[in-house]
Amino acid sequence: MNLLTKLFLVLTVAALGYAAYEGLVVAPTEQTMGDVQRIFYYHVPSAWTAFLLFFSNFIASIVYLAKRNAAADAVAAATAEVGVVFCTVVLVTGPIWARPVWGIWWTWDARLTTTLVLWLIYVSYLVLRRYSVGSQTSVLAAALAIFGFVDVPIVYMTIRWFRTQHPSPVIGGGEGSGLHPSMWPPLLWNWLAFSMLAVVLVVARYRLQTMEQEVEKEHAHAALQGSPQ
């Protein structure tokens, strides 16, 4: 681990600590929901980070299909896996927030359902990458990623297109929506901290992917040397 990586790791831990302080202590208590609304400072940044990671996966998949670049394939694998982790946080914290506020854990409204479908698409992507055998795995995974990404803008737009149980958008939601100005710094701090954590995880997962690609190459090389002439 070089000095720059160590420095970024320390900064990420510090940012996560400060962001938690902002969300739990500095942010004002919301009038209607009370303290449970502070889940917002983990739930929303996790969703934004997951969207960014799936977008990166979409771009890396296009690059891989166009150039058959192993590095692009490794980026795609890393961003999809870390994106699923953040999407899992969204799907777990959402019902925990919903229960005391809505009185139910889950409802099949457009936002919740499309988010679950998004998670299932990327879990399928990871299953395909892990268990498919053959030279076409990366190509199939890239194709699935490109089609699967279509669900991201749908998830984003559901609360604009449909009347849902889920609240209206924080940004660009029209009149009457939006956040109190004092809630913006905790939200943005948490998003910054979660994005930094995502970068750390993607870099670690990327390195692991390249190491696994090397091992696969070595195995293939050894198998060729050992095969009868």
Binding site: L24, D35, T88, V92, I96, M211, E218, H219, A222
Partner: protein
């Protein structure tokens, strides 16, 4: 579930998921490193 309990559960769940994933990455690193060592020994 009361609001403050839900808040604590949500924060704990978030970190269990994130730290669980970090632990999973470490275990995979360890396995790949061992595999690389074995390959080097074999060649």
């Amino acid at each position: 579930m009361k609001g403050i309990v839900a808040l604590k559960v949500a924060y704990i769940a978030t970190w269990v998921i994130q730290l669980g994933y970090i632990g999973y990455l470490f275990s995979r690193y360890k396995r790949v490193r061992e595999e690389i060592k074995d390959l080097k020994r074999g060649s």
